[in-house]
């Protein structure tokens, strides 16, 4: 089966026990990594006035932070390969904390780009990669569920940070809030301390693999010859052009259709709430014995479903139509996010996952950053949101179908390789038995 062949950890992961504490730790790290850049937007209006800059200039802070987070992926992977998850996450937490503390004393917008954007972004990358990697070392049989639960950190932390940031701003202004946020993000160090490194006890093959990795200490570029990895990479690069833009434009589109500001914001809350529940549910679904062996198809379905949602969005009429769209989109988005890294682990195996995710994030950096501004340009040029939705729909439906076709082919090849391997093993076993019998024969 594709799942078993890809494990190759060399030891039997606990699939529970301390693993659940690790899931909690990853929940926190992943939550901060994804939600932190988005939650800072609440301060932008005030900071914009303070530094007398335009809104797009201040919005760059989030973009630089996100870009740094994705670009630092390979650096994070190398460090995790060398030192394990725990130290990297703790350093990451310290980095984001110092970034926010420095930023709170900022005297110019460039100061914010460098502190919050670059240093903060790197710190978040040092949280994201290790958190994802360590789940692969603690779980195999229940890994989709563990991944789904850990990825739920993103909407939950966002949901918590939004009102919290508003409260901090009302009580302390933007400088004081940045200071306190720096302290809050230090809880990633607590998460890091929970990420106890896995020590394989009996089966020493795992230690060998770990030692090999340590010696190399770099990133595994042979992944570019890995069939599954290439399929994942190609599809994802295309998909990310259309992935985040619909979230960014949900509220503006609603306002464009005449919905008032609070109801438009409420749409985003509905979306986030649905997302929050769908992620662990998808993890559970991916764990079932029918889906697990062919989990790539579930991911392909989730991506295509996203595309279908966006293509149908322009048909939504009135607020009720938008609510329905928000619910379905929330489901689609949650499904994809829950499976996003699980399917990569499934394809390349847990021990190569660290390098794989580093390479994937730096390559995805482009589409992630370009997607929303390009969509915005599309809306501005054509004057209507529906073309943007059609474009995003296509950018998700095409990769979805691509995934279905390529994974069908990939599964067939994997099954074939598995069969060849098993028959080769049986042959060598048979030869070894024959050899032993001959030896015993000659010894007597």
């Amino acid at each position: 089966m594709a799942a078993k062949a890809a494990s190759n950890l060399g030891y039997i992961p606990p699939d529970g026990g301390w693993g659940w504490a690790v899931v909690l730790a990853s929940f926190i790290s992943i939550g901060f990594a994804y939600a932190f850049p988005k939650s800072l937007t609440i301060y932008y209006k005030e900071i914009q006035e303070y530094f007398s800059v335009s809104y797009s200039q201040i919005a760059w802070v989030s973009s630089v932070m996100l870009a740094s987070m994705y670009a630092a992926g390979p650096v994070s992977s190398i460090l995790v390969n060398r030192y394990g998850s725990r130290p990297v996450v703790m350093v990451g937490g310290l980095m984001v904390c110092s970034a926010m503390v420095l930023a709170s004393f900022g005297t110019s917008i460039v100061h914010l780009y460098l502190c919050v954007g670059v240093i903060g972004g790197f710190g978040l990358a040092f949280n994201l990669q290790p958190a994802l990697t360590i789940i692969g070392t603690y779980f195999h049989a229940k890994r989709p569920l563990a991944n789904g639960l850990a990825m739920t950190g993103s909407p939950v932390v966002l949901f918590t940070l939004a009102p919290l940031n508003q409260f901090l701003f009302d009580s302390f202004g933007w400088r004081g809030s940045f200071l306190i946020l720096g302290a809050l993000v230090l809880n990633c160090c607590v998460a890091g301390s929970l990420m106890r490194p896995q020590v394989p006890e009996d089966n020493l093959q795992g230690v060998e693999i770990q030692n090999e990795r340590r010696e190399k200490g770099c990133i595994d570029v042979s992944l570019f010859k890995h069939r599954g990895f290439l399929i994942y990479l190609t599809g994802n690069v295309l998909m990310f052009f259309g992935f985040f833009a619909p979230v960014v434009f949900l509220a503006p589109y609603a306002k464009h259709l005449g919905v008032d500001e609070y109801s438009a914001a409420f749409l985003l809350s509905i979306f986030a709430l649905v997302d929050m529940f769908v992620r662990p549910a998808t993890g559970l679904l991916g764990n079932t014995k029918w889906i697990r062996p062919r989990i790539q198809y579930l991911f392909s379905f989730a991506v295509s479903y996203n595309g279908a949602c966006h293509l149908l969005c322009p048909l939504a009429s009135g607020y009720v139509g938008l609510v329905v769209y928000a619910v379905f989109f929330g489901m689609a988005f949650g499904m994809v996010c829950s499976l996003l890294f699980e399917v990569l682990m499934d394809l390349v195996g847990a021990h190569r996952f660290s390098s794989a995710v580093g390479l994937v994030t730096i390559i995805e950096c482009g589409p992630v950053l370009l997607g929303p501004p390009l969509s915005g340009a599309l809306v501005d040029i054509l004057g209507d949101y529906k073309y943007m939705y059609y474009a995003c729909g296509v950018f998700m439906l095409v990769p979805g179908i691509f995934f279905f076709i390529m994974h069908y082919y990939n599964y067939k090849r994997l099954d074939e390789e598995q069969r060849q391997q098993q028959s080769a093993q049986m042959r060598t076993c048979g030869e070894a038995v024959q050899l032993k019998m001959d030896q015993e024969g000659t010894q007597e």
């Binding site: 494990s7 400088r175 306190i180 302290a183 929970l194 020493l204 230690v207």
Partner: protein, 272 residues
């Protein structure tokens, strides 16, 4: 002169109308007793009309008359069409509450006032001693542009005009059509007062207020230190717990983690 009429209907019986320019205008609030808010920025001739459709056309024995700010307007009982009356709004004292009364049972109020300053923050703005702050007042795009803006500071009745040219180290004013910005530099505890922005129209000024709160850096430092302590305690507890657990378990030679163990190739079995 051309007339622009914008009609917005809210539930709860309050109706908003906006007027630009002069000329004769009318509007028709419909239904039972309620209030209409009218925003006027420059002198205009207004005809206010109220309908009472309960009996189709008004019953003969019920006549309407007009009041301004609670006082009867002389001569309003005797006009031929009492429900419709022209008013000349020339200056600030012509603004106020005009009521169209039907006997003693029902009335329709028209509140004439200058346009309100848009989305002013009701919670205080927080800033720090020694730092600076920018206070912003905006007039919505749908409303007329004020002639000028004035800034005041003070508590309650004690309002003093802010003269930026007189104190350039402390204040800087940037008034630009619909938006007015006041930069206050070198903040101190005494600056924790109310600031007022006045949007000046021909018929008077609309006032918006912003509360400023100046605090020292020690305020946010308290929760900061508390959270850092919490993190230190948790990290120490978790790591100590782990150390005590590994001590209780089998004694291991060498450090925990990887490294230092030799592998015998003969013990390698098939995987999974």
């Amino acid at each position: 002169r051309s007339v622009l009429l914008l009609l917005t209907l809210y539930c709860g019986g309050v109706t908003f109308f906006f007027f630009f320019g002069g000329g004769v205008d009318y509007f028709f609030p419909i239904g039972k007793s309620h209030t209409a808010k009218v925003e006027v920025s420059s002198p205009v001739n207004l005809t206010l009309q109220c309908n009472w459709p309960q009996n189709g056309k008004q019953a003969a024995n019920v006549t309407a008359f007009w009041r301004k700010d609670g006082r009867d307007i002389a001569g309003s009982h005797v006009t031929l069409e009492p429900e419709k009356r022209p008013f000349i709004i020339k200056d600030e004292e012509n603004l106020g509450r005009y009521s169209c009364m039907f006997g003693n049972e029902a009335k329709v109020d028209f509140i004439l006032a200058v346009p309100h300053v848009g989305n002013v923050r009701d919670k205080p703005l927080v800033s720090y001693v020694g730092d600076s702050v920018v206070l912003v007042c905006k007039m919505d795009d749908s409303k007329p542009e004020p002639r000028s803006w004035l800034w005041f500071r003070g508590n309650g009745t004690d309002k003093e005009l802010i003269d930026a040219s007189g104190e350039p180290q402390k204040y800087q004013i940037q008034n630009d059509g619909r938006a007015a910005k006041l930069h206050v530099y070198n903040l101190s505890r005494d600056d924790s007062v109310l600031f007022f922005c006045n949007a000046v129209f021909a018929l008077g000024a609309a006032v918006g207020h912003l509360q400023l709160k100046v605090i020292t850096v020690y305020e946010p430092l308290k929760p900061f230190v508390a959270i850092v302590l919490e993190v230190l305690v948790l990290v120490a507890a978790i790591l100590l717990f782990e150390r005590s657990r590994s001590k209780k378990g089998q004694p291991r030679s060498g450090p925990t983690g990887f490294g230092g163990r030799t592998v015998s190739r003969q013990r390698r079995f098939g995987h999974n």
